[in-house]
Amino acid sequence: MKTYRQVFSELDRAALIPFFVIGDPDADTSLAVVKTAIDAGADVLELGIPFSDPIADGPTIQKADIRALASGMTVKKALEFVRAVKDYKDVPIGLLMYYNLVYQYGTERFFSDFHRAGVNSVLIADLSIDDADEIIAPATSAGLDTVFMVTPNTNTDRMKVIASKTTGFIYAVSLLGVTGSRERLSDPVEELISKLKKMTSVPVCVGFGISKAEHAATIAAAGADGVIIGSRIVKIIEENLHDKENCLAEISAFLSGVKSAMENRGKTGTH
């Protein structure tokens, strides 16, 4: 199974990391979407298991969660979904989800079942580094990497603690707020990336609000190891609920555009 370490060391540009909600708008379409993203050059996948109360998410991903739950997605089916993705191609998968679903499944069992299905890490949006002890031991013994978030208001000491407990990558949140497309990148993002890059050798991937190829290129140029794009592409699903073919075509075109923008301004580019 391909590891984050392999991906980040092989690439000479920032990794392209699309985010989707598993089962949005239904299991079959969702799988087709993910395969399309892989074909368009996704280096890592960030996948969400839908939850009834996603407090870190803006309207676009909330609606995706509702669609996925309405179509019958469950934690058990998400496990099959991950297996199906891995059967298609060995791309590293990070789950991004809420604690209650892990907790109800049983944290240890959740981590080992999903790792066996092909997941590399489980980022729990509502579990901070302060409670990391509840998950690090079971995650590590299951063979998972750890991923934690850093936000623009995280202080330096705390960043150091987070970096020390992270083995996969740091998920740097580009802004103060929830997920959702934004017209402009937030001001603190480049500073945040450079601060983290100076502090730690753990890869830094940036997400939240990244909506355009230029955004991704700017973030890559600022030294990020990966660019996570969620709401912008989930929105494509929302806008094409009755036109699967167009949905896949738009996702493919958008991700290819992002990738070539990042290639033109590689990691070591203009920074």
Binding site: S52, Q104, A125, S128, D130, N153, V173
Partner: protein, 391 residues
Amino acid sequence: MKYSGRFGDYGGFYVPEVLIPVLEELEGAFYRFYEDGQFAAELGQLSRDYAGRPSPLYHAKRFSEHVGFNVYLKREDLLHGGAHKVNNTLGQGLLAKYMGKTKLIAETGAGQHGLATAMIGALFGMETKIFMGVTDIERQSVNVHKMGLCGAEVIAVEGGTGTLKDAINDALRYWTAHVADTFYLFGSACGPHPYPTIVKHFQCCIGKETREQCLEKIGKLPDMVVACVGGGSNALGIFNEFLEDENVKLIGVEAGGRGLSGGRHAATLVAGRVGILHGAKAYLLQDDEGQVYETESVSAGLDYPAVGPEHCLLKDSGRAEYVAAEDDEVLDAFELLTRTEGILPALESAHALAYLMSQKDKLPGETVAVVNLSGRGDKDVSIVEKRRPKK
């Protein structure tokens, strides 16, 4: 964070990273100011002159005759705004002022906490936004108008069933994006640390007064203290003072809605399983995989699938007992108190009265039960009319 915010294994602060620094700031400010002489003096003065504390303890003799034992009402319904909520909004509002925050946000179910926050926003000249589910906006429209008159903006929340849970989700999301200048004035003794501790602190005046008033009026402590439980603030506010008095039975009454068997209720402690929602580990109404259930109750203020962490511990330890009252019993209790005493209870508070009615003729006549009458029922008149049309 300085403290873990745990009650046993319950509680904590399960929130996204972005909220940790603001909760930390809030925790620091709370522990810095709450024992500060000037803060305490200002809060004491406002509690008395603005809110109307102390609230009376009233022997409801005709209601007592009906149930066959002595019922005393702790009259939080007489406070400014019509509910216990003002105790907390004055305290947290003052905290916001001392912290130099200029904007308030709050969630609300029944609109009582929203109204109490809007009042304090007006009092301190702070811009105030209230998040409220669309279902609740419809069923508690009087309070929506009052909030508007106080100058607050009511933000309609469409998600889920448009009730309290959804309002909290959106308030948390909004806060995430406005952490710098906005104070989240949380309405109950639940949510992430430090809120359960802060809200209890500002509500425990209810129990302190009740204890003194019992000793003064009855010459002894009550046999039983009964309160409704939504998030748990009015119940904890009155229970806290009696925790060490093992002869005082503590009873929390949850919303039994349309009945526990059909799943259409909000009886979290009675029927829930431990989980994590809105920043805390607590009993939670949820399916096998952990998706949170949509709840149902005739009272918007109790229509919530989680509950404060300290109540979870009190349940497990057996110090407090939790029961559920169904909508029909609650409406009966509303009607009985209104007819026997001329007091309209909030439908939330009527849950506590419904429990006493269920004990009719089962307790010795000399029993003394104190009910926290957490709010007045003016806001609920149209709901009662709809559910109990005059024949």
